[in-house]
Assembly symmetry: C2
Homo-oligomer: 90 residues x 2
């Protein structure tokens, strides 16, 4: 039961972390961020930073690893959105 | 120390969950999903579903609550993306 629970947790963490990779690739490739919400990526990136701090405090390598990757991907997407917003491209 | 850690965790969970609200509002309002990745929202929604199952198995109300809201928001965004993709709008 505990092993099943661990597996479900690892699948969940892998999926939610990995999901930002295709979005980052799409954004880097097309540079189009029109339908991305600036608020979403600002709040989400800040939230992931808090998760990373939480993981570091707890010395939990799984939380640190997953959120370090997500932070990298989400902040890349956010950077494109900020750049486009500043340059009035939407 | 434990209270500080709990607070950091709650801030993190609130931010990453709440972040999908402005994206869902933007998507519902504009119906524009051109720069959203179908792969991202498919994988992410599935991941959140696994987090929800994980929370139910663990009887962890915080995980259940946060992921039920995120699932609702992410699946709304995904529905618009699938609709637009099927209708060849991108």
């Amino acid at each position: 039961m505990n092993i099943t629970l661990d597996i479900i947790g690892y699948i969940a963490a892998t999926l939610t972390t990995a999901s930002f990779l295709p979005q980052a690739i799409l954004t880097i490739k097309t540079k189009d961020t029109d339908s991305l919400s600036l608020s979403m990526y600002s709040i989400f990136t800040l939230g992931v930073l808090f998760w990373l701090i939480y993981g570091i405090y707890k010395s939990d390598n799984a939380i640190i690893f997953a959120n370090a990757i997500t932070l990298l991907l989400a902040s890349s997407i956010l950077s494109f959105k900020i750049y486009n917003t500043v340059c009035k491209k939407g």
